[in-house]
Every structure is written in C-alpha cells, then in structure tokens.
Symmetry: C2
Subunit: 226 residues, 2 copies
DNA sequence: GACTCGTACATTGTATACACTATGGTGTCG
DNA sequence: CGACACCATAGTGTATACAATGTACGAGTC
C-alpha cells in the first residue's frame, strides 16, 4: 500500500489514491465522520500532499467526504436523510440507464450479463459480500456503457459509491439483503437483454424502490438520529 | 480580474476562480474545444498553478472541461449528443426537485418566487439575456433549497451549467427561446407555490422536454456534426 | 520522397517550503 | 470562580521548484 503499488496501477496518483480511499470508506475501514488530514494520508501512502488534495477533491465530488474551508475534511456522515436522498435520485437515474441500455443494439456486450449473473450466483453461494458488490458494480458499469450516455454515467458514478456504503452496512446487519438484491439484479439484467426499454426502466425503478424500503428500517436504526 | 478581486469575493481562490471560468465558458468567451493551460490561467488571474489545478478539477466535475491525463485540458465540446444527454437527465432530476419543492412547507421562501417572476419579466422587457439566465438560476437554486435534498442539488449543479451553455447559444440564434422559457418558468413556479407536487413534477418534465425539442434543431445545425 | 528515430520544448504531475487561519489551552484580570 | 485575551500549535491554503511525459519537428536512412 505504498507509492509503488499506486504507480503500477496506472499513471495518475490522484485517481488511484481516490479509488483506494473510496474503498476504505465504502467498506467502513474509514468510518463515518472520521477526520482526515492531508498529511496523514500523504504519509500513509508515501506521496506528497499535492496529489492527496486532488484525490480528496474527487472524493468530495462524489459526496464521500465533506470539506469545510480551512477547517478540514471528514468522511461524509451516513444518515437516514442522506440515504433517502441518494435513493430518491438513484431510482430515476438508474431507471434511465436501464431504459437506454435496453435500447442498445450491442447484442454482444449485452451477452456479458450472463457471465455476470453466474459470478453473482457464485458470490452468493460463497457468501462473499465484497465480491458480490464488485461484480454488481461491474454490472452497473456495463449498463451505463450500453446506455451510452456520458452525462448519466458521470452522475450515477457520484451516487453509486455513496449507495454502496449503505448497501454494505445493511448487508452487515442482515445478509439476506444480498439475496434480495441478487434476485432483483438478475431480473433487471434479463429485461435489458430482452430489449424492452419500458419494462427495463419500470422494473429497475420499482426494484430499487423496493430495496430502498427494505433497507430503510435498518438504516433508521443505525443512523436515524444523526 | 486579478487576485484582489478574487480574494474579495470570498476566502477560497479555487472556488472563485472556478466560478469566473464557468461564466467564461457558459457565455462563450472561452469557446468549445479551446485549449486551456494551467500556466496561462494562473498568469491571467495572478495566482499560482496550485489553485488553478483545483479550480479545473471543479470544472471537470461539472463537465465544463475535459482533462486528458498528462495531455492537457480543453473546454468541453458542445455536441448534439451531449445536449441530448444533459436534457435527458435534467428532465428527471428537475422534475424531482420541483416535486419535493412543492411538498415543502416553507411558505415564506416559496413567496420569493413572486419577486423572481417580476425580475424575469423585467429582464425579458429589456431583452437582457444574461440577466434572465442569472435570475433563472436563482429560481433553480430556490427550488433546490425548498426540495431540501443536498444530493439532488449536487447532481443538478453539475447539469445546470452545461445546460446553460446550450441555452445561451440557442438564445443567440433565436431570442424567442427566452420568451418560451419565460412562460414555462412562470408556470412551474406557480405550480410549486400551489404545493401540488404531482402537477409540479409533471409540468416541469413536460416543459423541459418541450424546450428541449424546440432547441434541438438549432443545436443540430450548430453542433450536429461534432 | 516517405518513414522512423531521436531530441528539444511545452505542459502536466509531484514535492516541498512558506503563509495564513482556526482551535485549544493557559494565564490574568475582574 | 468565571470570562476574556493571548499565545502556541496543528492543519489547510498557496507559491515555487523540480520531475516526468507527451508532442512536434528535424535529421538521417531506406
């Protein structure tokens, strides 16, 4: 977890550092409201403050950290209200993505959903939550690619990560969420592959709304007061 | 347009610099696809490259500039496809904002729409496009405030600016667009004030869709091939 | 004459040093 | 004992210097 690793992943340190920190935040190793200092991060990953600052700007863009001018930076707090906000927006945008993905003619790439479904099944069997989420994210990326809408992809990118934090938390409380999410995801993939845009959109919106409600009580219990 | 002006506006140079550059891009003083070099901007505004880099990250977040690692930065190109993308997303998100704004109980702030409508009327009379857009943006901000959804506001913030570029361009081609936009805007404000959420949402979505189609031919003529 | 290789330059990427601001503790005075 | 002022310190904000990289141009070769 040092400079060498970062540089090997790709050319740009800020982007890679941001990815690493994203993971730390999503999977709870960096906790909600935890204070982050630039120097601490810089030292920890063996880089200077310059790329760290840029990485933090990227995290700020995606709502994963909160910055107060000249005061500091904190991991963005999780709250019931924020959860509702994220899911309110996600419903519409994921619906759009599914709709336009279904309209795509790229049957070859649509075929990739089959492999993803198998991987999801596998992850479920092994009860490997992180692997499940990773494959699920790849499914989302495939959907966005098919939708062929950079703007939509950009917006959803800034929602997915925050949503994943809640999903991972909910999973830790109640692993059954994974199973529910799995069934839904499989059905959405099918709809997109079938090319029925209206159905894909409707299904996606309803299924995300359903998960939202199912997760909500657990989230309220954990973060309702915050 | 130097350091002093920037510092007086507020404490943070990157944010202010980003705002200034945003305006330059929206109103076409910095043209589509124009190359931007950090040093040029730094020199022009009398600051060093550090805050310039951060400002450019902010612009990148909102889709106003495109960055290619180690190659450089360009003003994001306008194109028919991008225009469609922005408006596809805007319809849904602005609809959501209108819906939740209508649901707000803050009658006092809702009253502010009246003043804005007067200012819009005034701007139309004087044929002052820039003033119109500025007031219109304030109306959007008021809507977002009422909607009380930080996530939605964050997403819409990254759409509005790009949308404004197209709107300003369309206005320059055909000033009547302003009149159309005015009628629509006034009706939306009324709906929000009335508190009819479903109507506000529906109206907003349909009216934005209508403007979208009305603008589309002009945009195609200008950027269709790009 | 066209194509490839190499070198110089322009520009981004990163590190480091310095400046400024916010915060917490301590001391003094009312 | 409490409140206010002052100072020390930590951490962000900005400037500058240096490193790395991509591009353009020209020389050399086939």
């Amino acid at each position: 977890m040092n400079l060498v690793r970062i540089q090997k992943l790709s050319i740009s340190i800020p982007e890679n550092l941001a990815e690493i920190l994203e993971e730390e935040i999503i999977y709870g190793r960096l906790k909600s409201r935890e204070r982050l200092t630039e120097e601490m991060i810089a030292e920890r990953y063996g880089v200077s403050r310059s790329p760290v600052r840029e990485a933090l700007r990227l995290l700020e863009r995606d709502g994963l950290v909160i910055r107060e001018a000249r005061r500091g930076i904190w991991v963005a707090p999780l709250s019931l209200k924020d959860f509702d906000e994220v899911y309110t927006c996600r419903i519409e945008l994921e619906g759009l993505a599914a709709k336009y993905a279904a309209l795509s003619n790229d049957t070859e790439r649509k075929g990739e959903f089959s492999g993803l479904q198998n991987e999801l099944t596998d992850a479920i069997k092994r009860n490997d939550a992180k692997q499940f989420f990773l494959v699920d994210v790849r499914g989302s990326l495939l959907t966005y690619t098919l939708a062929d809408n950079k703007t939509l992809t950009r917006l959803l990118g800034g929602l997915e990560k925050q949503a994943l934090r809640y999903r991972f938390h909910a999973y830790q409380q109640n692993p059954n969420i994974l199973q529910l999410s799995f069934d839904d995801t499989a059905r959405i993939y099918d709809a997109i592959r079938d090319g029925d845009a209206a159905k894909a959109q409707d299904l996606t919106e309803n299924l995300i709304r359903e998960i939202w409600q199912k997760m909500r009580e657990g989230i309220r219990g954990s973060f309702g007061a915050e």
